[in-house]
């Protein structure tokens, strides 16, 4: 596709349920990022997939959060046993795997835990 695609665009879930957020990066981009943005806040780094290297998971806030990237392309972010504090907009971004390249962002998934 032309850009980074995220689905769903909005998700409302009940506290305690599991959710999966999907990201389709730009074709050819080997680096993929997940960030989240709570209301009125900045961008919080979650996880970074860099080609075939082990992912940088240092930003995941708890063991309820996990992510995978299958075949070096599509990525899913899974949140288990959702809590109200998980409510945020979750952004995916992708880039070429070079230091001098910018990342391109999707439109985000707005997650609301009720």
């Amino acid at each position: 596709g032309a850009g980074v695609s995220q689905s769903p665009s909005n998700k409302v879930t009940e506290k305690g349920k599991d959710v999966e957020l999907r990201c389709d990066p730009i074709s050819g981009h080997t680096a993929l990022y997940w960030y989240r943005q709570s209301l009125g806040q900045g961008l919080e780094f979650l996880i970074y997939f860099q080609g075939n290297s082990a992912p940088d998971k240092s930003g995941l806030p708890s063991d309820r959060f996990s992510a995978e990237r299958t075949g070096g392309s599509v990525s899913t972010l899974t949140i288990q046993r959702t809590q109200q504090e998980d409510s945020a907009v979750y952004f995916c971004a992708s880039s070429f795997n070079r230091l001098n390249t910018e990342a391109f962002f999707g439109q985000g998934t707005r997650l609301t835990v009720v």
Binding site: Y33, G42, L43, F45, Y48, S53, F91, L99, F105
Partner: protein
């Protein structure tokens, strides 16, 4: 660890006046610096980047940024602000000491008044 700081939560400027959004960085080695803009309910859009070379970098929508090594700054500038420039602006740096992930500042809200 690499980091960027945006000391101003909000910047207010009158339309037609020059604007500056500040960013300072802390890196070991050469910095790879980026500016992004976020319009309401949208993902982040890339504006410009500094990798090496000329200290004045020109980007999208008439924005430019000045890299200053002695002051470890990378301020975003525009000679004449437009009301449509009102948005949230993020500075980012590559974490070259670790996994090269992009680390974002806390963001600065720019408000341009007619």
């Amino acid at each position: 660890a690499q980091s960027v700081a945006q000391p101003e939560d909000q910047v207010n400027v009158a339309e037609g006046n020059p604007l500056t959004v500040k960013c300072t960085y802390s890196v070991s080695g050469n910095p790879y610096l980026f500016w992004y803009v976020q319009y309401p309910n949208r993902g982040l859009q890339f504006l410009l980047k500094y990798i090496t070379g000329d200290n004045l970098v020109k980007g999208s929508y008439g924005f430019e940024a000045e890299f200053n090594k002695s002051q470890t700054s990378f301020h975003l500038k525009k000679p004449s602000a437009l009301v449509s420039d009102s948005a949230l602006y993020f500075c980012a740096v590559r974490d070259v000491s670790n996994t090269d992930k992009l680390i974002f500042g806390t963001g600065t809200r720019l408000q341009v008044f007619p």
